[in-house]
């Protein structure tokens, strides 16, 4: 079976505290801070590396299989 590509999802939007750490650790341009929470602006750029998920202090982001988006 070929592994499906993962992509970021804002799993817990209400828990975001807009610290910006996810943006700092992302190797490409995917995320942007909105007024009170993180936003995905260029999902197509996401390489599914999980840096954001592993670094977010508030368990907001999750990398999921593309078909779960």
């Amino acid at each position: 079976m070929v592994a499906k590509k993962g992509r970021v999802k804002v799993a817990r939007p209400d828990w975001c505290k807009t610290c910006g750490i996810c943006i700092e650790v992302c190797p490409v341009e995917v995320l942007e801070l909105g007024k009170d929470r993180i936003q995905i602006i260029y999902l197509e750029n996401c390489v599914g590396c999980e840096n954001c998920e592993l670094s977010c202090p508030d368990f907001v982001l999750k990398v999921v299989n593309e078909d779960e988006e």
Binding site: C19, G20, I23, E24, P57, D58, F59
Partner: protein, 273 residues
């Protein structure tokens, strides 16, 4: 895919109350990912924490948990382990809770090599009480109790616990989540006193006062200054000056305390008959 941590969290207690950008959440999440990988049983694991922002972790964790008095997590944990040696016992503590008021308990738990996993969230400051210096505040840094700069020498807690008798000693940092997961996975699997120093950022009560910037800047500081042990060893003494090694720094086997105690119980029972 990263490990699912939802099953280890008390969803009704979240979001947590740690400040925006506080590294405590990152450490806790990666501790749980390491726990998931270690294959240990959630229902046979007890988490004990003391007082501090770090100590609040026990409230968010869906294990049997105990939130106890300041500096005394290891004493409660020792009681739990002695009475129920089959349980996995984890202590979550801070640099104030674990190295200042609780420092004495830390060295004696190490000396006994009792099978407790000590996770010390080191943010270099008393976060909860708004920024007094701790035994981990670097010399020269400022704190509410050291407005002109701290003149005390900070501990190297990994060296300290190792020489006191801990049999697993590691250091990780919020900036290096993958290394943290590995440290936790192996640390949880170790039998004996496990000491894990997790370096975390307190942007509110340490970063701001010491002009280190916000959480993102503090993480970049960690990236530059906390480096893998192998790399650290390849550096000259001069290059090492402002660097701290991370990774599993020491691991050894030595008879564990509750095992010795079981033998004492057996001997005492034998001599009664």
């Amino acid at each position: 895919m990263a490990e699912d941590i939802d099953r280890y969290l008390r969803q009704d207690k979240l979001p947590h109350i740690w400040c925006p950008g506080c590294g405590h959440g990152t450490i806790m999440a990666n501790m749980l990912r390491g726990f998931a990988r270690s294959g240990l049983d959630q229902d046979k694991t007890v988490v004990v924490s003391g007082i501090g922002c770090s100590g609040r972790a026990s409230g968010y964790l869906d294990f049997d948990t105990l939130h106890v008095t300041h500096g005394r997590a290891l004493t409660f944990a020792t009681g739990i382990k002695m009475a129920n040696p089959e349980l996995t016992v984890v202590v979550v503590t801070g640099d104030g809770d674990g190295a200042a008021i609780g420092g004495n308990h830390l060295i004696h738990a190490c000396r006994r090599n009792i099978d407790i996993k000590v996770v010390l969230f080191n943010n270099s400051i008393y976060g909860m009480t708004a920024g007094q210096f701790s035994p981990m505040t670097p010399t020269g840094a400022t704190a509410t109790t050291a407005p002109y700069g701290n003149i005390d020498q900070n501990f190297d807690l990994c060296e300290l616990t190792r020489s006191a008798g801990a049999t697993f000693v590691a250091r990780g940092a919020a900036q290096h989540p993958r290394q943290l997961i590995k440290i936790f996975q192996e640390g949880f699997a170790h039998r004996g006193l496990t000491f894990i120093e997790a370096i975390t950022q307190c942007p509110v009560n340490y970063g701001r006062r010491n002009k280190l910037g916000g959480a993102r800047d503090m993480l970049n500081w960690q990236k530059e200054h906390i480096i893998n042990q192998k790399k650290y060893e390849s550096l000259s003494a001069e290059e090492r000056q402002d660097k701290t090694p991370s990774g599993i720094l020491y691991q050894d086997e030595r008879e564990e305390y509750t095992e010795k105690y079981e033998k004492i119980i057996a001997t005492a029972r034998g001599s009664e008959n």
